[in-house]
Amino acid sequence: MSKDDSIGESLRKQGISRRAFMKFCAATASLLALPPGMAAVMAETLSRARRPSVIYLSYQECTGCGESLTRSFSPTLENLMFNVMSLDYYETLQAAAGTAAEAARKTAMKENWGKYLLVVDGAVPVGHDGAYCTIAGESAVDILTEAAKGAAAVVSVGTCAAFGGIPHANPDPTGAVAVSRIVKDKPVVNVSGCPPVPEVITGVLAHYLTFGSIPELDHLGRPKVFFGETIHDRCYRRPFYDEGKFAKTFDDEGARNGWCLFELGCKGPVTYNACPTVKWNQGTSYPIQSGHGCLGCSEPDFWDKGSFYQALSTGTWSGGAVLGAAAVAGAAIGVGAAIVSRRRHAHSEKEKQS
């Protein structure tokens, strides 16, 4: 199929009916929380749009994000998404290897300079001049910097690319940073999560395809449509929080009754993601529904915010020694103050006598 075909044309050539495409659009519009009427507009725009070139780069990552992406919706719809895009470089899925693969990337970049969509997963190590991650002799920083120059927009997939994630976690030996720390002059969309909800990844791509722009972002660069509300606010267990009904352990009556997991360390109240509505595995469930609190994986530094099982309202500090020292010092100074005061008393008493 030709790259110059419009999306509508290429689908038609594959024998996909307009009604089927409409169904895809309805599902995607639903995902993007667009009003129902927008599905038709979306279908119209998408069918006339050019197939965009997508370059997918992977750095310090575990491929969990890629695994997630390939599970979006369903084989059919995911194929559809990939079919409307021209995925020109993706180490995990591409057939080419070695110099051929690198050549493909360079070609795609050259042919679509200024227009391609750059998708990145994994954090970028900047310690020791980027020596911790090199591909074909080039450091991750350099590849990213160069690839970003020709990109229309950058999508950071996963918490590692978005915020540094696990490679950035304490003690961060490689100096891992988020993509947005390297790419400063291009719009960067952070699709965080460890991994992100698959439909959220495709939803952002669909938004870009449909509207030719990136969606509205929150202060952390995440699309508001998916990251606009906390897990807690959209959680079906929220009424139990309000009623003060909490599971105290993972196998008590409360846990079996599906009560709120706040006491078991759920980070839902401060975690912004689409899990409770889009859910996972084709809408089957999400962590809280499966009986485990939210880890807060779509938030920066989630790995370094204390135990996953420690309630949100507790402190994350350590160092009882400081408290002990403070108590001892306070007592000592208090005793000292009393002694000084007693001395002053004794002194004036003596004066009085003489």
Binding site: G334, A337, A338, V340, S341, R344, H345, S348, E349, K352
Partner: protein, 451 residues
């Protein structure tokens, strides 16, 4: 100044209350210290007495203002200056600067400015004229702060600064020098006893070497209500007690305490203690006088530095005991009576029930005031206030509470067991041309003894 006190500040003995005559010129500053020295002396003295107890009190105040609602001065004037705990303000500042746990910082950063002599001068009115140390504020305080006790401590500082109201200083000085604040010198007292003894045909033993009971008197009684001496003698004689009055220790009032001189307080108390020890008394009876009770019953042993070798009873307690055990018998008095609780004996002394037991034995129809007992209102004359002329107007204002209480009780007769309250009532009666006369509980018993 002290040697001229009798001529410069002669006693006013004819009035309804006993004080020195209204001074033409006031000397509310004593001595010739500089302002700086006065402040220094006041703060030093206040802080010197500071122990953990007072520290906890001063640290605890939450400025809730409830103490104002218990204070007759605030209630009658609605003037917030009279809020009891505020009367301690300069002393609280001194504590924070000098003795509190954060004193170092208060001094270092000057968080609480040094108190000035002018401030202290201004506070004289609050510490003396408008506080009888009646302790109603102590009773209301949600933190349980003993404000009355702190005012007592503040007075110690004021005395050392030479900032005591003229009259109070004068009578205290006189008590220290003559043995009695109001002219009841041993010679005057002896003459009175002889005269009373003849007049009333009652035996009054004086200066016995050995006695079971030492009887003490208030100079207000000696000079103004001498029948109290006779009444006491009648009761003790009726009981057949081996008792005595001693000229080396008879004065129970303690103007050293009221004015704020702790050394004089000690001197005055020690006279009685030594007299009692000398005659091997088992019991010391205090007269109908409020602050005398606090000074000897509760402070006596602490002045002495060890437990007293004798028992101390207020005369009302003594009467209650002997009426209760049947040794003393009285006639029925078919009258309705209301009883005024002297603050230092009831609220602050704990002898609240004794007079009621006595009245019970007299068979009177007791109409309690509202409130009564430990919550009763002060007459407004305690703490030495009744001696201060410039405080008269304010004192009459607060006395109106008392008049209303008595009138509302509907009783025919008003009885109390404190001669200082009694002279305050007499003075108030004269001022307002009121129809109620104050009576002594002791005299009521003595008049109705059954031999």
């Amino acid at each position: 100044m002290s040697s001229d006190i009798n001529t410069i500040h002669p006693l006013e003995t004819e009035g309804a209350r006993l004080s020195i005559k209204k001074p033409a010129l006031r000397y509310d500053r004593q001595g010739d210290m500089s302002d700086g020295q006065r402040v220094e002396a006041a703060m030093r003295t206040f802080v010197r007495e500071f122990g953990a107890t007072s520290a906890i009190y001063l640290e605890s105040c939450i400025h809730c203002g409830m103490c104002a609602e218990a204070c007759h001065y605030y209630v009658q004037t609605n003037d917030p200056r009279y809020t009891p705990v505020r009367k301690l303000e300069p002393f609280k500042q001194a504590y924070k600067r000098e003795a509190g746990p954060f004193a170092f910082f208060y001094r270092l950063f000057n968080l609480k400015p040094r108190v000035t002599a002018d401030e202290l001068q201004k506070w004289q009115e609050l510490i003396y004229d408008s506080c009888t140390m009646c302790g109603r504020c102590t009773l209301i305080c949600p933190m349980g702060i003993d404000i009355a006790r702190l005012v007592g401590q503040a007075r110690h500082g004021m005395f050392q600064a030479g900032l005591v109201p003229h009259e109070l200083w004068a009578v205290a000085e006189r008590a220290e020098r003559e043995g009695s604040p109001l002219g009841a010198t041993p010679k005057v007292f002896k003459d009175r006893i002889d005269w009373l003894s003849d007049e009333n045909a009652v035996e009054i033993p004086v200066d016995r070497d050995v006695a079971d009971i030492l009887v003490t008197m208030s100079s207000i009684e000696i000079m103004k209500y001498p029948q109290a001496i006779v009444a006491t003698a009648r009761v003790l004689n009726a009981l057949g007690e081996k008792w005595t009055i001693r000229l080396d220790g008879y004065e129970a009032t303690n103007f050293g305490m009221l004015s704020g001189n702790s050394q004089w307080q000690k001197d005055l108390s020690m006279k009685m203690i030594n007299a009692a020890v000398r005659c091997k008394a088992k019991l010391l009876i205090l007269p109908e006088c409020g602050h005398a009770y606090g000074a000897m019953r509760w402070d006596g042993a602490n002045v002495y530095g060890k437990p007293l070798p004798f028992e101390v009873l207020h005369i009302s307690e003594f009467l209650a005991r002997n009426l209760g055990n049947g040794r003393l018998k009285v006639r029925n008095v078919p009258k309705s009576v209301t009883f005024h609780d002297p603050c230092q004996i009831a609220r602050r002394g704990g002898a609240t029930q004794a007079p009621r037991q006595v009245l019970g034995k007299l068979g009177v129809d007791l109409h309690e005031m509202t409130p009564s007992g430990d919550g009763n209102w002060c007459c407004g004359g305690g703490g030495g206030v009744v001696t201060i002329h410039r405080a008269d107007e304010l004192r009459y204002k607060v006395f109106q509470i008392k008049m209303k209480q008595v009138d509302d009780s509907g009783a025919e007769m008003l009885v109390m067991s404190c001669s200082n309250c009694r002279q305050t009532f007499d003075d108030g009666q004269a001022h307002f041309k009121w129809d109620k006369t104050a009576h002594s509980l002791l005299e009521l018993v003595a008049d109705n003894l059954v031999q």
